[in-house]
């Protein structure tokens, strides 16, 4: 009894600490954004988020985000499988290299692509001849965004796969199951949620990426401005209200992601309970 009561107290103490921390560190800055975006009324807010340049920036951000999510998912599954299911020399080095894009400074990230695709890089004359713009154009923005989010899914899956071990897969393989069957029937169900978390994380990160994209975008209004860059530009124009309004689009997008996740969780729960009923 005593322990139970203590548990109740502990539970609420922990919840309050967590809530307090998130309130100060996340909700209050968020509140600044929301308050800022409505500072000049609802009409002005709507006008700023439906502005021509805002919509163009939004479309670019969405394209870069989708490309990132696809790349990080494919790469994450492949790499996580290779790294956790087999042992080979240099595994730890590969794992560490995979992590580099997340920890690398956005400034350095922008810089390396500037050096690689910029005019002093050896690729530039080649691209120039063919007439493809990479840097200061849409492809460059997408490449950089893919780069910074590359390990997101991998990071989420690996700890779970490592904790699970390989016994079940090995048994299935010995019974003659193909790699694809093993993956879809045994591995994937257990990593489904981390996989979805990873996709959501990478989508959020791709939407908000600022530093690296800023170095190689060129800030061409209506062409190479992503939403975060557009926000920065509006700030520099002293259009604080509009800037916050555009920033709030990003907040809404991440709320949309949250709702998507809740829906997915709900659907899968229903499926499980239906299956349980069917077996009963």
């Amino acid at each position: 009894m005593e322990q139970k009561k203590n548990d109740g107290i502990l539970k609420w103490v922990l919840i309050i600490i967590a809530a307090f921390f998130l309130f100060i560190m996340v909700i209050m800055p968020l509140g600044m954004v929301v308050a800022g975006s409505f500072a000049m009324g609802f009409k002005y807010y709507i006008a700023s988020i439906t502005d021509k340049y805002t919509l163009k920036a939004l479309s670019l951000t969405l394209r870069a985000t989708i490309a990132s999510v696809i790349c990080t998912s494919v790469f994450g599954l492949m790499a996580a499988w290779a790294v956790t299911r087999y042992s080979f020399p240099g595994k730890k080095i590969i794992k560490s290299i995979i992590d580099i894009p997340v920890t690398i400074s956005p400034v350095i990230c922008g810089m390396i692509f500037l050096l690689l695709f910029g005019r002093q890089g050896f690729i530039y004359p080649l691209l120039d001849k063919v007439g493809i713009d990479v840097i200061f154009a849409v492809p460059g923005i997408i490449i950089v965004t893919v780069f910074v989010t590359l390990p997101m899914v991998f990071r989420e899956i690996v700890p779970v796969l490592e904790a699970r071990g390989t016994e079940e897969e090995e048994a299935a393989a010995m019974m003659g199951a193909s790699g694809w069957t093993i993956f879809t029937k045994i591995t994937f169900p257990s990593i489904k949620w981390p996989f979805i978390y990873g996709m959501i994380l990478s989508a959020s990160r791709a939407m908000g990426e600022f530093g690296a994209v800023s170095v190689i975008s060129g800030h061409l209004r209506g062409l190479t401005n992503t939403l975060p860059l557009h926000v920065e530009i509006l700030f520099n124009e002293f259009n604080t209200t509009e800037a916050f309004a555009v920033a709030s689009i990003l907040v809404m997008l991440s709320i949309a992601l949250l709702i998507l996740r809740l829906v997915l969780q709900y659907v899968s729960k229903r499926k499980i309970s239906r299956m349980q009923k069917a077996t009963a």
Partner: protein
């Protein structure tokens, strides 16, 4: 096995299509004899309002004269960063940066002919500005001139000259005053600068960030800034600030240039040159003045002498021996600015 491979391949194909597919919508531009032509103007931060007004003026004018529709795409940012990007392949038809040093670095990378600054009148500066002091309403710290910025009770806001073009002008304006005060004795002048920069409370990376620190975030007693930036701030909240003209300042020349190799490949030389030349026309000069830039046309400048006091003593960059010399001496690694902070 096959099914698995197919799925994987289609995944990769899909992502490849998305990546390259996005690249395709760019090549419609190249055609310049067409009815539509695009100009890219890479500029620095505070010129946004100016070019917004001028672009619509020019687009109308060009349409009337040639029947061609021209769309000017703007890019704004810190002057040094913009120069870096153009030198690295940002396809700007014209550059309108904050100081000749930045245009020079683009020229040095081989994109602009080295005689660029003599191609247009007035050192290629259709407009220029100067450096002033912005203080809080009522001037509570009684700041009159550069001297007051070295007082121990004064806190100064100015951006970092290493990352901001405007900040270099700020620095040089103060340095010009110090040289004058100490009869060109450099060691005293450097000591003066050291005192001044010791009072700097926020050293932002760009001019606009400094303005925000001073206005929105209430940092410092005085902001060193462009004259046009000061007027813009006064226009937004005139009741909170006051503009102080120091006894000595600098003629902050903000030259413009066509980027030769880009206009060659885009086939846009004609329209790009007209775009810059027309900045010198009377109507365009009025637009400059309206946006608080000093017009190079002295007649237009005189009309606005209420806004732009003409009795202000202004040194020029040539008085310091030109940008190459100044950059090396003051702002390069280990230069005077670094020594100030040693």
């Amino acid at each position: 096995m096959k099914k698995r491979l197919l799925t994987v391949l289609s995944f990769i194909l899909l992502s490849a299509v998305i990546i390259t597919g996005c690249g395709l919508n760019r090549d419609a531009e190249g055609n310049t004899t067409a009815k539509r032509v695009t100009l890219i103007n890479v500029s620095y931060d505070p010129t946004r309002e100016l070019y917004e007004a001028y672009n619509s003026y020019f687009e109308k004018k060009w349409k009337k004269e040639t029947g061609q529709t021209v769309e000017v795409i703007q890019s704004h940012g810190g002057s040094g960063k913009q120069a870096l990007e153009v030198a690295n392949g940002l396809k700007a038809d014209v550059v309108t940066l904050a100081l000749a040093a930045d245009t020079n670095s683009v020229a040095r990378s081989g994109l602009i002919a080295s005689d660029w600054q003599s191609r247009l009148p007035d050192n290629s500066c259709p407009y220029y500005s100067t450096i002033v002091l912005l203080v809080r309403k009522g001037n509570p710290k009684n700041i009159k001139d550069w001297d007051d910025l070295t007082r121990s009770d004064v806190s100064v806001v100015t951006p970092n000259p290493k990352t901001s073009g405007g900040a270099r002008w700020n620095y040089l304006a103060a340095y010009a005053y110090a040289l004058k005060k100490y009869d060109n004795d450099e060691s005293f002048a450097i000591e003066f600068m050291r005192k001044l920069y010791r009072n700097v409370s926020v050293l932002d990376s760009g001019a606009r960030a400094s303005t925000t620190s001073f206005t929105e975030n209430g940092q410092g007693d005085v902001l060193i800034c462009w004259e046009n930036e000061a007027y813009l701030t006064l226009q937004n909240d005139g009741k909170d600030y006051e503009l102080i003209y120091p006894s000595v300042s600098i003629k902050a020349e903000t030259p413009v240039s066509v980027v030769d190799s880009v206009v060659k490949s885009h086939g846009t030389r004609k329209v790009a040159e007209a775009y810059l030349k027309d900045l010198y026309e009377k109507e365009a000069q009025e637009i400059c003045a309206k946006n608080y830039y000093r017009p190079s046309d002295t007649a237009v400048l005189k009309e606005h002498s209420k806004q732009f006091p003409t009795d202000l003593e202004m040194v020029t960059i040539d008085d310091f021996g030109g940008w190459d010399k100044v950059t090396k001496k003051h702002f390069a690694d280990g230069g005077i600015f670094d020594q100030i902070y040693e």
